[in-house]
Amino acid sequence: MKLDRRSFLKGAGASTAGCALVATLPGTLAAFEQQSLKPVGSEVNSICEMCSTRCPISARVINGKNVSILGNAAAKSFGGAVCARGGAGHSLLYDPQRLVKPLKRVGERGEGQWQEIEWHEAYQLIAEKLNGIKQKYGAESVAFSSKSGSQHKYLFHLAHAFGSPNTFTHASTCPGAYKYAASAMYGGGVKRDLGGAKYIINFGHNLYEGINMSETRGLMKAQTKGKAKLVVFEPRFSIVADKADKWYPIKPGTDIAVALSLCHVLINDNLYDHDFVEKYVAGFDEFADEVKQYTPEWAERICEVPAADIRRIAHELAAAAPHALVDYGHRTTFTPEEFELRRALYAANVLIGNLERKGGLFFAKKAKTYNQFAGDDAAPTLGKPGVDGMPTITAKRIDQVDQQFAMTWSKGGVYQSILDAALESKPYQLKGWVISRSNPMQTMTDRARVVEAMKQMEFVVCCDLYVSESAAYADVILPESTYLERDEEIFDKSSKSPAYYVRQRVVETIGDTRPSWQIWQQIGHALGLGKFFPWETMESLQLVQTKKDAKLLQEIKRQGYISYGVPLLLREPSYVAKFQATHSKARVADEDGSYASALKFKTPSGKIELSSTKIETMAPGRGVIRYREVTLKQPNQLFFIQGKVAVHTNGATHNVPYLANLMNDNAVWINPITAGHMGIKSGDKIRLYNDTGEEHGVALVTPGIRPDTVFAYMGFGSKNKELARAYGRGVHCGNLLPHVISPVTGMSLHTAGVSVAKA
């Protein structure tokens, strides 16, 4: 080192960052020698995995030590943008706390005693244990759960081959309700054309913090270019509330009252789209009859939003229709009445006839559908690998005892029922649990119960990047390669027109990790189920997808993201005209210049079902959308609500270095009036407690929250030392949320009553 004045002064701003600050845990990158990053290409187009949106990215390696991640500019609705989480991806690669070797538990479960093992030993152990459980208790006594998305189907394929029906995604702890409600009403999932809307009503769907790039950009586009009006109902002053034209600090859990009341005004004041309802809607009369009683005055008493405002907003919504929408939200499991809330929000959209209109809701146009309208092969369709002789499973799913959850069985199930089965043998005993990139210890309610369920399992396997809170209770932890080190299959990203994109490795693998699709395949072989895994490599699977069209595969890989054709909205004549101009053999338009006559719904009646006999059969009393009073807290308690922050994702990113540096604690928002009564100031240590648990945190006294409510960003307060940057920092929300399963959707509950005291 050159000893000049600059070197001499180096202490002034020196950083300790980059050093491993924790005692080295076996299997982590800290225990290995660091190498430089070996880039796979000069610029690789791939897919992000820092949250579930999975934006198209473009990444390159700088000087062999740094990965720079930007958005893929070819994906127009994503605008070449990437959020802080996406940009932080590479700090995962070199994180000394990241797991790069399989681990075997050597102490008591959850005690944190680990031993590094080789992959073949891990597979052998897993095969021995799982086959042992299968012989003793039946294959169905092993549950398989995964965060839904790119890799879950490989795990579920293994589950199927193994013979267990018990496969679960995180849907019931996050996005399930709005999907099931759409399925019940529209016969399938719908998307939001936020960018084209002139008027948007938003119930706490905080797209400016819970960033979903194309939707976040769409909302901003509507507000800037479209000059759309945005009305936000949310108990907390979030960023989306700040950016709204009007914010209503609604009482927690009462959104449904506003939604139903909007429907009441639309029908009562004759503002709804009669033609649309007549042509496409079933069960309108029953619904209209039910909402007669839900006046704005009735809603005001429940939700504390002025009746005159609700009435005015309904009129403004109708005036902007059909280029307007009521956002049906995302992870907003406010109350056990989730199903009714989501349906009520969709109902308001149905009444203004915004389906397949600009600025409204629409169905994704995948290649098959799009090509039918185009009359030619506008976009290629993907092939699927066929596997012969998969076992027929006769055992019932553990959540299949209750018919009301029928919609969830094939789409993720009721995740929390794993705990009921493990702890109460309901409907039968689970003995094993295989978890992939899912962190129920953070994302489920009643953390103590998750610990109990884990402890009574005979065998638990976890596949993750870190020793997550849940992985800490496993018998074997399998280190997955990060998304920057993985090749994966081609994914459908269709929106108004078909689109595909593909994940490709940006750098060569660091340490001894493997992609999870390969892990499940190799475990399949170890279990003696190799014949059900006919693909050798990811490339061979991709070629099955492109039907052996190597040129197409190369093109998708080169561009990373390809969209085909022009946007199509079936009831928007200008879109149809452009579509016809693009595709010479396109379907002939209706008299009004639209494709309205082609609109189909996969419901029993073939129409949008505002009221449903199918649901009435599944869950008696729930055929018609109805308000039911719920008790979310005791009179002497405060409402406890949670939300997303722009720099973290649920229970997954709190230990990622860049992101932990940006935010590693979640102060509890408390209104100055409420705090004043308790003598609490900002920065004071406080205690939150209820029948479920107790948490210690720090107070943030702010007017940005209702006086009867406290708020915390979710995902903090890890209780396992392995996550050194997140351990013991902030409030662990799941430890304060009671175990309640919502009817029909099976959702967990995210609003609770808590008492707050100075610690």
């Binding site: 000049d4 180096k10 590479h90 209104n671």
Partner: protein, 190 residues
């Protein structure tokens, strides 16, 4: 001066998401302990329920009258002919006068190079390749606009012609080249 590069930060569009902060960090290999740019969400200000946040970009202002350049004894801190303030690390003796002189407190010693560091609009990385600065290209809501204010047809020139804007600590006479469009309720719709 041939070019006059400026940055316009529309605080109405900014959501404080820190995408700019992270993109800058990875593009410029900024060590963990220091930061070239961040956006501070301040507030909420006002009285419940009439509230608003402020979104405050904290980064080098590329001052026309730059105190850091004036105090530098060796000429290591200099203004390029594009108006961007840069640092010649070979001339730097590490006296830290520039850090003390900066009224915006955005200069720091890079713990790896031990040279003062700060935002330079990605001059030596992206700008040299004809690309926009990293923060501008990743911004999810297009809150940042960058370009040559000497070119009247540029986006920045047009924004500055049509929108009310201000500069941070303008009373000091430093003439910053980072402009702010102040946020207000309903301000997005302008």
């Amino acid at each position: 001066m041939t070019k006059r590069y400026v940055m316009v930060h529309d605080e109405n569009k900014c959501i404080g998401c820190q995408a700019c902060n992270v993109a800058c960090r990875s593009e410029n290999s900024t060590p963990d302990a220091v930061t070239r740019i961040q956006v501070r969400i301040e507030g909420p200000h006002g009285h419940y329920p009439d509230l608003h946040f402020k979104y405050h970009r904290v980064s080098c202002q590329q001052c026309e009258n730059a105190p850091c350049v004036e105090v530098c004894p060796t000429g290591a801190a200099y203004v390029g002919d594009d108006g961007i303030i840069s640092i010649n690390k070979d001339k730097c003796v590490g006296c830290q006068y520039c850090i003390a002189a900066c009224p915006y407190k955005v200069r720091f010693i890079n713990p790896e190079t031990r040279v003062p560091d700060k935002c330079d609009f990605c001059k030596h990385s992206r700008l040299a390749e004809g690309k926009q600065p990293a923060c501008v290209s990743v911004c999810p809501t297009d809150a940042l606009t960058f370009g040559d204010a000497n070119d009247p047809s540029s986006d920045v020139a047009q924004l500055l012609d049509t929108r009310i804007h201000f500069q941070d600590k303008a009373h000091l006479g430093t003439k910053p080249r980072v402009y702010r469009i102040p946020g207000k309720r309903g301000g997005i719709n302008q």
